[in-house]
């Protein structure tokens, strides 16, 4: 599935270095930038070829729709209605008539074209600053036709990066747990999908309970908890080959796994005799290290992006709270001091924040705090929600939410949601079944 090598990227024209339009992503964006995504133009011969291969009538429009949808759900951009466009796609890509685009209040314009060349899909696209009447970026990709959705995501990432100054997060995937059946006997499967919900695929059959899958930030490996043979253990799954292996084969339950930032270690909890401690395992030489040693419950460990620190939750104070320590287990400091219980700390890929779940007075919150515990901000409140996971650029959190049942115990559901770091732009991510425990992959292409 790694198609990184298959996508060849050309820079068409040297890019004008100074960003003309700027989108500030550090605040809640109440006025998303109006822009126009002109459908990628396509010649009739190419259109027919792709129709035959991909069963899509107009692949140019399909790719544009992906770009438009990505930019809209980011909450930072407002893609304008195509019906208002005055200029035809093929002509716009050569040289936009800026006054036409200005008229419909577009501040930026995306144009491009698709060709079928030597069994390959070739896309070029351009980003224009309408007010300044200038080209901001021009790129071309060549790849196998089946990669067409990823081309849309890569274009979205390039536009996002050019306009915000930060990396995008569209060419990514989400691994999660698909849930079906009654609440007392849920059937759970590992599932994976593109960040926008497309290409959903189940990775396990549901014969055993599976929980908490997490991506390796450095590859397409996943670690998760499986109740295979009724022994809850940490497993590794290669999603390219489907190979599974147990890594936490300790004399007791291993759980709460995550990768180290370099992908070389797994950090997890091992529960024995009523206490849970944190351990690491080096995946190369299988050397196991005990990191915490305390009669309390120590779990949900997560590394800082430089690998030097670990945040985790522990009830050593009597209640579940968040702690930070050095990666060898020394220098343990409690960082959460607000009212309520704190769990599931996850270090931001940017390094500056820790996202968490908080339980206070019967409500669950997803929030963030600085790594010393200061500046706590609660982003969203609900009956039940937990397990935030960061987008690779550290701007969006994905988590799951469960509903309260009625007096007869009916009406239970679990869904994936995302919210911006700003607390704005809360959205449900549609999944074919109920869903929980989402984990966001790194960018597939860089």
């Amino acid at each position: 599935m790694t198609k990184k090598i298959l996508i060849l990227l050309f820079i068409l024209i040297p890019i004008n270095a100074s960003a003309l339009i700027e989108v500030d992503i550090t605040r809640g964006n109440l006025n998303p930038l109006p822009l126009a995504v002109s459908p990628l133009s396509i010649d009739e011969e190419s259109r027919k070829s792709f129709e035959k291969i991909l069963k899509k009538e107009n692949i140019g429009s399909e790719i544009s729709n992906i770009v438009e949808n990505n930019l809209r759900i980011s909450g930072l951009f407002n893609p304008l209605d195509k019906k208002a466009f005055l200029q035809a796609p093929d002509i716009a890509n050569l040289k936009p008539r800026f006054e036409d685009w200005n008229l419909i209040k577009a501040q930026a314009l995306i144009t491009g074209k698709v060709n079928y060349i030597d069994d390959k899909l070739r896309v070029e696209f351009r980003l224009w600053d309408v007010l300044a009447a200038k080209e901001m970026m021009a790129l071309a990709f060549t790849t196998v036709p089946n990669n067409w959705r990823r081309v849309g995501h890569i274009i979205s990432d390039k536009v996002y990066e050019r306009l915000t100054g930060e990396k995008g997060y569209f060419d990514t995937r989400i691994i999660y747990v698909s849930e079906e059946g009654p609440k007392t006997q849920r059937i759970k499967k590992l599932a994976i999908m593109d960040q926008d919900g497309a290409n959903n695929k189940f990775l396990t059959l549901g014969n055993e309970l599976v929980l908490t899958p997490r991506f390796n930030p450095a590859s397409q490996m996943v670690t998760y908890l499986s109740y295979f043979k009724n022994m809850p253990r940490v497993y590794l799954l290669d999603i390219e080959t489907g190979t599974q292996e147990v890594v936490g084969d300790f004399p007791g339950m291993t759980f709460a796994p995550r990768f180290s930032p370099d992908g070389k270690k797994i950090i997890m909890s091992f529960a024995k005799d009523g206490k849970s401690d944190i351990y690491t395992m080096d995946l190369e030489n299988r050397i196991v290290e005990k990191i915490t040693n305390h009669p309390s419950i120590d779990t949900s460990p997560s590394y800082s992006p430089d690998g030097k620190y670990i945040t985790f939750n522990s009830d050593r104070s009597g209640y579940q709270q968040i702690y930070v320590m050095k990666n060898d287990g020394s220098d343990v400091k409690r960082i959460s001091f607000g009212n309520g219980l704190y769990g599931t700390p996850v270090w931001s890929p940017r390094g500056d924040l820790i996202a968490f779940t908080k339980l206070h007075k019967g409500k669950f919150y997803i929030g963030v705090m600085r790594t010393d515990g200061s500046g706590e901000r609660l982003l969203t409140e609900n009956y039940y929600q937990e397990a935030p996971s960061w987008s690779p650029n550290g701007r969006v959190l994905i988590f799951y939410r469960e509903t309260k049942t009625n007096s007869k115990g009916e009406g239970f559901s679990a869904k994936l949601w995302s919210i911006d770091l700003t607390g704005y732009n809360e959205r449900q991510i549609k999944t074919p079944t109920d869903a929980s425990d989402p984990s966001w992959s790194a960018l597939l292409s860089n």
Binding site: N230, A271, D273, I297, S300, G343, T344, T405, S407, D437
Partner: protein, 163 residues
């Protein structure tokens, strides 16, 4: 005349009974729901199954706790006696948590609860070789309700025959 009086009195008594019993049942229902919990530990028998006559299969816990109540210790002593009488039977202690906690912490809490039960069985002479601990966290509730009574039924350690 006399018979009449007796009849009349009987009717009055009957009527009074009816009124009283109506009151009594109403009260009973009200205390029944509350009577199923002490503090927030479940004390009812709705979900309880029996390993043998007089040997309940499960014990219940307070929120975020793994301390055994007096009633739990009594249940576990009965289980220990039954296990001593049946030396060929091994058991799995399945520890559970309610839905009001994070998944990973609940897995650890379920393990801690099942171990509290295991430790108690061991002090009554049951070898640890005969006991396996398995935590389900919040994954396998018995009651799908979203209310304190349902949660109290779900905070449990259940002793299950392994063979």
């Amino acid at each position: 005349m006399r018979l009449n009086k007796i009849l009349k009195n009987t009717l009055l008594v009957l009527a009074a009974c009816l009124v009283l019993s109506a009151c009594a049942t109403k009260k009973e229902v009200a205390t029944d729901i509350q009577g199923q919990m002490q503090g927030d530990v479940y004390t009812g028998t709705d979900t309880v199954e029996y390993l043998a006559d007089g040997v309940p299969d499960r014990v219940f816990f307070a929120t975020n706790e793994s301390i055994l109540t007096t009633a739990s210790r009594e249940t576990l002593r009965a289980q220990a006696a039954w296990l001593r009488k049946n030396p060929n039977i091994n058991v799995v202690l399945e520890g559970h948590a309610d839905e009001r906690g994070t998944r990973e912490y609940n897995l650890a809490l379920g393990e801690r609860r099942a171990n509290a039960a295991k430790d108690y069985l061991m002090t009554y002479g049951i070898s640890s070789d005969r006991i396996t601990v398995l935590s389900y966290g919040k994954e396998r509730p018995v009651d799908s309700g979203s209310n304190p009574l349902a949660w109290s039924k779900n905070r449990r350690s259940v002793t299950v025959k392994a063979n």
